[in-house]
Subunit: 194 residues, 2 copies
């Protein structure tokens, strides 16, 4: 009855993909993690196609209940933000084509959820991801750990009934998936007992 | 023996799509033009899915030789640039999936190609697009006219042999399409006569 979350840290050079199963009791287990990498020497259309084919295969293989992707802002680093936004658009459409709800989380939300501090370092996030997932060391590279952190963040936050709006789930029409509903019910029962 | 160019002015609220056939003698004819519109009230994933389905259908219907899309910069208007970049990524992948070469042109290049001035106004671009395509008035809204202007720009520039690098065609491995090769040959012959 776990919620299966695919977390995506979008990027043109390295796009981190993780699959995390989150139990109603918040226990999170890493199912799989990878990075789709493309070279800056490759033409843009072929780079974006590689990312599209990578996420397509990932979703078909793992059939997640929900996809969590980093909310992209127009950051200071303008040289990479366009490629990051293009990659995120492709990832979101891949989920939407399959009827998989999409949730957006900011980097600050992810850091706060995983480490307790919105200002945590990359290293601190990786360390907590390893601890949460009971791994000997953080998934590498950092994009893989960030993808796992996104999945954990959504798994923990998305569990609460009525939390859709605050977590930015955008596929509102379909509402909760069966697994999400089951989980919400389990969480509610846990709270009543507690 | 015309080169069929799909021009795309990417955007989340209005994504302009145009099909222009450009003859070796630079005569350009509008085949079709439309705008895929999505509402800001719609969840992001459904907006991006609508754009993906719109460009998929457009490419399958019109089978272009090349797709020309506006090169997105991190402009001052940060509230819309992320959505524009996401839409452009989706459009580029739609072409790449079909083996259609993708060319990127800056707004300045487009204005210069169509009006002779890189600082031309929207109205001036629309007016020249109408004149070039022998239309009674510019395609509306402006996104549709911009998409047509992009197609014209690429049709005129892409015609010249060896111009791929400068016009930003990114699908380098496949080189020129048969139509592009034929056109390049015709252009070369014209230059020799002139």
């Amino acid at each position: 009855m776990a919620l299966r979350v695919v977390g995506v840290d979008p990027g043109l050079t390295r796009c981190g993909l993780a699959v995390v199963d989150v139990e109603p009791n918040r226990r999170a287990s890493l199912v799989d993690v990878t990075v789709v990498g493309t070279s800056p020497d490759t033409p843009l259309d072929q780079r974006l196609l590689a990312i599209a084919e990578g996420i397509d295969a990932w979703l078909d293989q793992h059939c997640p209940d929900v996809l969590a992707v980093e909310r992209v802002f127009s950051q200071l680093n303008v040289s990479t933000v366009m490629g990051t936004a293009q990659a995120s658009g492709i990832v979101i459409v891949a989920a939407a084509r399959r009827g998989i709800p999409v949730a957006l989380h900011t980097p600050t939300e992810v850091k706060a959820a995983v480490t307790g501090s919105g200002q945590a370092s990359k290293a601190a996030v990786g360390k907590m991801v390893a601890k949460i997932l009971r791994l000997a060391e953080p998934p590498k590279p950092a994009d893989a750990a960030d993808a796992a952190a996104l999945a954990i963040t959504h798994g923990w936050r998305g569990a609460a009934p009525g939390s859709q709006a605050s977590t930015g789930v955008t596929a509102g029409s379909s509402g909760l998936t069966p697994a999400q509903r089951a989980w919400a019910a389990a969480e509610a029962a846990t709270r009543q007992r507690g």
